[in-house]
Amino acid sequence: MNIVFTIVIGFAVLIATLLFLSCSLCAVTGGLSGQGRAISAVLALVSLGVMIGGVFLIARINQSKEPPE
């Protein structure tokens, strides 16, 4: 079950990361209108949240049973 959860969350993080990077394409965001920039900023923040949340969730699911050295 952990494998399925890890892969599903992993895909979500992968898509969120690509979205985050797309929203911050240096040359492209410069050409957007005011509303476009606002949407881009909101999308970037949401995808950043999904990314960070997903990473913590995956870390928790696959947490080592042994204490770290």
Binding site: I3, V28, I58, Q63
Partner: protein, 248 residues
């Protein structure tokens, strides 16, 4: 469609495809959930790291633009992505108890991906801020302002494409389990890529017009220097091995 957008997405897809080909060719030391855990940490850490180093490139500009989403969203650095991914993976491995070296399969996809992405940077021109200082060399490129500049994006592409066969030979060497006398062990493919790329960027950025933040070095050069020191033990190990081989 904007060339930066096209080539950046091409780079992501080509790098992912290249990773799967190499995984099929050389196998994987990690189980599927372990690999996913590491990949997720790498891409998320890379994305965040690329932003953080971009902001730290010029702290004074960052302070002036704290309320400007266009600036905050509008840039990233490859070196930041690499070191951010590295730090995130090491933290994740420690937390989840993954012990084997995990980066060898990323080295060639990263080299190809960065090279493809740099084509977009080159075609974008001045607004991409990846060009070099003015030059009178015959291969200098005018990006549209009438000034001939070092095409540092092309230098990087040539360097990375030259690095790929070396990385492939290192992966082959690592996968030869039967040989006891090996310079490179598991994990060294990625370390070699990082050392080569960070060294290249450290020297190449001397011919880029970025602001110097401390002791005449730019923010990216400081990041390169710190992580080159982090890998210095591996350079000593490789050099010592070659010295021992000569004495045998």
């Amino acid at each position: 469609m904007h060339p930066h957008f096209v080539f950046e997405w091409l780079a992501y897809f080509f790098a992912i495809a290249c990773y799967f080909l190499l995984r099929r060719r050389f196998g994987d030391v990690l189980s599927t959930p372990e690999r996913w855990t590491v990949v997720v940490a790498a891409i998320a850490g890379g994305a965040v790291g690329s932003k953080i180093l971009f902001w730290l490139e010029d702290p004074s500009v960052l302070l002036q633009n704290l309320h400007n989403p266009e600036y905050l969203l509008g840039g990233k650095t490859i070196v930041g992505g690499l070191v951010g991914g590295l730090v995130a993976v090491e933290l994740m491995k420690r937390y989840t108890g993954v012990r084997p070296s995990t980066g060898d399969l990323y080295a060639i996809p990263l080299a190809f991906g960065i090279a493809i992405g740099r084509v977009g940077c080159f075609l974008t021109g001045l607004s991409d801020n990846t060009y070099g200082n003015p030059t009178r060399l015959i291969w200098g490129v005018d990006f549209g302002d009438g000034i001939s500049r070092h095409p540092t994006q092309l230098y990087e592409i040539v360097f990375l494409l030259g690095l790929v066969p070396i990385l492939y030979l290192i992966l082959l060497s690592i996968s030869c389990n039967g040989r006891s006398l090996r310079v490179f062990v598991s994990g060294d493919g990625f370390k070699f890529f990082m050392l080569a790329y960070l060294s290249f960027r450290f020297f190449c950025d001397f011919i880029k017009p970025y602001p110097k933040v401390f002791l005449g070095l730019q923010g990216i050069q400081w990041a390169c220097l710190v992580f080159l020191l982090y890998y210095s033990g591996d350079v000593i190990r490789w050099t010592a091995f070659r010295y021992r081989l000569k004495r045998i």
